[in-house]
Amino acid sequence: MKILMLLRANFLMLLRQRALLLSSLGLAVISILVFGYLFGGNGTIKTVIGVVDQDHSTVSAQITSQLQKSDALKIYTGNAAEEQQALKDGQRDAVILIPAGFGQQLVQGNARLQVFYDQGNAVTAATTQLTIKAIIDDINRQIMHQPGTVTLDQQGVAVKALRSIDFITPGMLGMMLMWANLSVGMQLVNWREMGITRRLAATPLRPLTMISGQIVARLALSLLQGAVLLALAFWIFNVHIYGSIALLALLVILGSLTMLALGFAIASFVKKSEAADSMLLLISFPMMFLGGSYFNVNGAPDFLQPLIHATPLYYINEAFRQIMNYGAGWSAIQTGVLVMAAWIIASMLVVWRAFKWL
């Protein structure tokens, strides 16, 4: 009974914080709408790929014809020089080069394709990379099913038409979790400043119990917001979750816990609530972009990579993308999960040493 009352009070307080809901769910929904409508979320934009066949074997011809059959791709063929120039001119999103000897190497089991990307347009580069990856995965899958001579399925390459909106939605889910949970520490700083924690100190309520109530309430809110966001994305833009929803939900909880822990750790260093506001913004904005919520940061310059890999949100977004866009299972997100767990433990250590309830 007592626990229910505690959770009820904490959850009600969260639901009534309009600013919190607006900055997290509101921002995510608006971003999705903008990107969805602005970049043609309804899947009419095709990825333009140039195919250079230097092998001239049966297999390479089959690959080319399959790619041409796909609805999501627009294929041009030509020689290396022509296609590379077209790529430079912005006429291609990517160029696939099938090198000489590809067919024989395929039989031996170690064939390689060369792929050239146009990195200039960050948004379409993201989709292109996903598409190419899907193509290659599919080819690999088909090849592995055939013993002996390699023949490819005549149906065409099964490329899930991944659009900008498919890329952005998991990123928005991650970003929303950040905005919704990072501020938990700030709430405690506010309470401390207003004298609420002092008033509570005169009651039998243990600080840890109150904090636990807050955590559970925020997790519930995160799951609720996540469900709303994904439902909207599905309903308006037909964004699918190709992987396990249960796994996604688990990752939402883990991601939220990571942000909560980080939020408490940050608050441990803040004495006044005005400082808390600016510190939060200072951390949230870079994290939102470096974490890859809006664009693919995997192709970012080398000097940024350490920063990107130091951002907890990066792993959260990657995990969401793996599950939603690729239907990935546990093995693909393992590292990400471990990193999140490490962040939680590190944050908890900081809180244990530095956080002041009164």
């Binding site: 009352m5 009070a9 307080m13 609420i196 100190a201 005169a202 009651t203 039998p204 309520l205």
Partner: protein, 322 residues
């Protein structure tokens, strides 16, 4: 072991004697400054005990140490037989506190706030009934920020009563309130004493102390400088009445001191404060003196001494600086 048992028996004996709050040598320092300096007193069951002193005297810090919110540097407080340092949970269950400036969760309604606080205890009163008792029934769905100052203090009082505590701590319960709200709050406090509750309050208002408190401890600069009933404290002044007046230059302090019945004279330029045991004789003599010497006597006020006078006498300063 034996001494410990002995001490506990003493405590049990004391609380059966009716001592609800027993404070021994409490000390609190912040850096070089000693904010609470070796304070001791005890509060009897059913008593309203006041700590009267100017702002900065250390009243709030003292109260917070007894409530268990602040850790003392030295000394103990024993509430209903429980040592605050060792049996904090037991103490928390039987006290209710009203802090000086109460801000609450702005997102919850009054009723929800009361329900939340009520859920922290295993026993207590019904939130809706409490709202009724403090005359805030109509505001059950309002939020704390929508309340006036007086309403907010009544809410804070309701919160303090949520577990039907034996001991209540009120820190400046009517600070910054209008006269009507003050009276409302006083009525509630007096009713609470009728219910058998023990109340410990702090204030810098002399009228509040005089009206509500059975006994008053005067606190200044971290120390208790006097402890007695209001009447007892005033009696110590040795004055039955005070005559305030303004006398022009020709009057001398010595002359005034020699008037019949005068026990003490305070003078600041032309303003005189004359303490007397025989008000009538002194007054007649004063008027005669002024007439004979041709001294202009203005702003004459005759009143009974108050705790302000007691404080002034003890510290040389005014209780409430203008």
């Amino acid at each position: 072991m034996i001494s410990q048992t002995h001490a506990m028996a003493q405590q049990a004996h004391k609380s059966s004697n009716g001592v609800m709050v027993d404070v021994h040598n409490l000390v609190k320092r912040y850096g070089q400054k000693t904010v609470v300096d070796n304070v001791s007193f005890s509060v009897r069951q059913g008593e309203i005990f006041g700590v009267l002193g100017p702002n900065g005297a250390g009243k709030t810090t003292l109260l917070e140490m007894i409530e268990g919110i602040r850790k003392p540097d030295a000394g103990t407080a024993i509430l209903a037989g429980h040592d605050i340092r060792k049996e904090k949970r037991a103490v928390q269950n039987l006290i209710g506190v009203q802090l000086q400036a109460t801000t609450l969760f702005s997102e919850l309604t009054l009723l929800e706030t009361l329900q939340f606080f009520r859920s922290l205890y295993s026993q207590g009163l019904e939130p809706k009934q409490l709202l009724h008792d403090v005359a805030l029934e109509g505001k059950a769905s309002a939020h704390p920020q929508d309340l006036s100052g007086g309403q907010r203090q009544r809410l804070a009082l309701a919160l303090a009563l949520v577990n039907d505590p034996k001991i209540l701590f009120l820190d400046e319960p009517t600070a910054a309130l209008d006269p009507q709200s003050r009276r409302m709050l006083w009525d509630i406090v007096l009713k609470l004493r009728e219910l058998g509750k023990t109340i410990l309050l702090t204030t810098h208002h002399m009228d509040e102390a005089q009206l509500l408190c059975d006994r008053i401890a005067i606190m200044d600069n971290g120390q208790i400088i006097a402890l007695d009933t209001a009447a007892g404290l005033i009696h110590r002044l040795g004055a039955q009445a005070t005559i305030d007046c303004q006398l022009d230059g020709k009057a001398t302090r010595i002359d005034i001191e020699e008037l019949p019945g005068v026990t003490m004279v305070r003078q600041a330029n032309a303003r005189y404060m004359i303490y007397t045991q025989q008000m009538q004789s002194t007054l007649i003599a004063l008027l005669t003196y002024a007439q004979e010497k041709g001294i202009a006597l203005t702003d004459l006020q005759v009143r009974t001494p108050t705790l302000e006078d007691v404080f002034l006498d003890l510290t040389g300063r005014e209780l409430r600086p203008e």
